[in-house]
Symmetry: C2
């Protein structure tokens, strides 16, 4: 969510109009799809956010002599640890990545904990170490935080919230309004690894797969892409809850354009495809924690992909679609056989508590 | 927690030494007293925080051309609403006040929610409105946030975390190392209102009192005090969890000095004193959410108190103690009869989930 300036705060009186009519909060409101968007757009944003704010990954605000980017994320993943990561690594990477895809160099984090009474000290210590290590690898410092404790039976061990600050990178001139028909859509790597890994870590489905969460900082990839093709990069987003399908639907709606998705070019590991098919899930709706989407002007697309592929962890980056004029606000998957289907936002919550 | 600069990040390898040996997390670790300090000082801070960081209310960091103050706080108060406020107003004021007592003008907030499935939509809307209104009154804009949902039975309706950013006020030159024997200790108003109000709102004790939480932004009071006596103000702190006794003990330990507390001069409402006596609580250990302590050089103390008393909401401000050489690291309450007693930090958690 983005606010261009603090100084323009001419917000009128409270209350403002909230049109949220769902009688109660359901798990789907936290899943990152349609229900989440309805909650944020019809209740939280109209009442809470500065009028200059726009829904996005990080706020960009003037503070005295410097423009900074800020973002905050809450993490409630279950289980706390899973192959490739844990709630602590997610909490660091989630906030670092929101800054990175906003075109800001991540600088510092604040970390708050809500701890469950009875949590073993060594589990807490392990997560604190995981956070410290992830922050160090991501090149950010942790400058403060807070700790609260709730009764046993609440908070599932721990919930973690991170808030981050970054400095806008002058190479990144991002604006959804600059996205134009013909622009290419880039994806940094294979999708669905995180969501499927966490699902399997719960042990509720009798499936096994050699998978790890993709949780990582995407800043090294973003950095290299901006260095190679910054002037052509129009928009970035990390497709977490709700997956690539939800992120692209939001892009289509925000730009009033259409998106043609070359579904066969979307990298998906065989294990992810296999588990998804068995469970009736679409990898396009599954959460990622170490990938990003970018919209790049056509003249810059090849060099941007080449830069990503030349960066460790970006080997499978691909052009996976393009912006089109029609049908406005819609994402269409196109196959090499000429068939098409509409890709909708996530509805409901097939994978709760994924981040 | 304070980090002087982002640029000095020469943090060595992970892991660093953690000496926390408590086998599991207990409610007392969240109460703001000795156990909280042990958790933060022996586990979280040594592993997590930037080496330049010091424990305090907000981090002060260089971001490009501007120094900013940042802080984050988690709120888990039960019940969600109580006379004079709610979790939403607390969440705004808690973070605004941490910035204010760090000598920073509060500017912007990020707000994250962990919501319990089943929470009625109108309760959420009421809290979102409370947050918006409190922010508007406090002069801060809300620029973003995040929402997660957990299953029914977790999260007690909602937990709220706020992160805030402010700009250091040049009138405030705060440093615990500048605190000297003879400096006066100022208190902005009566203590214990918040803690006792929340306790009574739970309905678990058959007592009734005409009390309201003191939750409010202290920035207007801090602002007037800095205008009148900024050059003499050495240190500020808002005595929330753990109360005045804990904040002063931390000051005594951090400065290596002693504190003489003129206990009879500490403003306490009759209702707070009455309920505290019945329940065996010391008002000095009870949480406040709209008061602050300041250490002021002797020549500035009277003008600082006069400035507070002339500001709405500061009418009961008082000089309540002074710094002394001996006994180092100790808070001693002195009565007009010449008697003294040692005032310790809060031990245990007599009032859980107070903020």
């Amino acid at each position: 969510m983005t606010a261009r300036t603090l100084e323009s705060d001419a917000r009128g009186g409270i209350p403002r109009t909230a049109t949220f009519r769902d009688p109660q909060i359901e798990m789907a409101h936290g899943a990152g799809g349609k229900a989440t968007r309805r909650l944020v757009e019809t209740l939280i944003a109209p009442i809470l956010l500065d009028r200059a704010a726009q829904l996005g990954d990080a706020a960009v605000i003037d503070v005295g002599r410097q423009v900074v980017a800020m973002t905050a994320d809450a993490f409630v993943v279950q289980p706390l640890t899973f192959p490739g990561g844990s709630i602590g690594t997610l909490a660091v990477h989630g906030t670092v990545n929101d800054l990175a895809v906003s075109g800001a160099v991540p600088k510092a984090l604040l970390v708050t904990f809500v701890l469950e009474a009875g949590l073993p000290g060594d589990i807490l210590e392990a997560e604190v170490r995981a956070i410290a290590q992830a922050a160090q690898h991501a090149g950010v410092v942790i400058v403060g935080g807070d700790t609260k404790v709730v009764e046993h039976g609440k908070a599932d061990g721990m919930y973690v919230t991170t808030a981050g600050i970054g400095i806008p990178d002058p190479r990144a001139c991002l604006s959804a309004s600059a996205v134009a028909p013909g622009d290419r859509i880039l994806l940094s790597g294979p999708i669905g690894d995180h969501g499927v890994t966490v699902l399997l870590a719960r042990g509720q489905v009798a499936l096994d797969a050699e998978l790890r969460s993709d949780t990582r900082s995407v800043w090294p990839l973003v950095n290299r892409m901006l260095a190679a093709a910054g002037a052509g990069v129009r928009w970035m987003r990390d497709p977490t809850r709700g997956g690539v399908a939800t992120a692209l639907n939001e892009l289509a709606q925000d730009t009033g354009l259409a998106i043609a998705l070359y579904e066969e070019d979307v990298p998906v590991r065989e294990e992810v495809r296999g588990v998804s098919e068995i469970l009736g899930l679409d990898p396009l709706h599954i959460a990622n924690e170490g990938q990003f989407l970018a919209v790049v002007a056509p003249d810059y697309a090849d060099v941007a992909v080449a830069a990503l592929r030349a960066t460790p962890g970006g080997e499978q980056a691909a052009i996976v679609g393009e912006m089109r004029e029609q049908p406005t606000g819609t994402v269409i998957a196109c196959s090499s056989y000429g068939t098409t289907r509409v890709i909708d936002m996530l509805v409901g919550d097939p994978l709760p508590r994924i981040c």
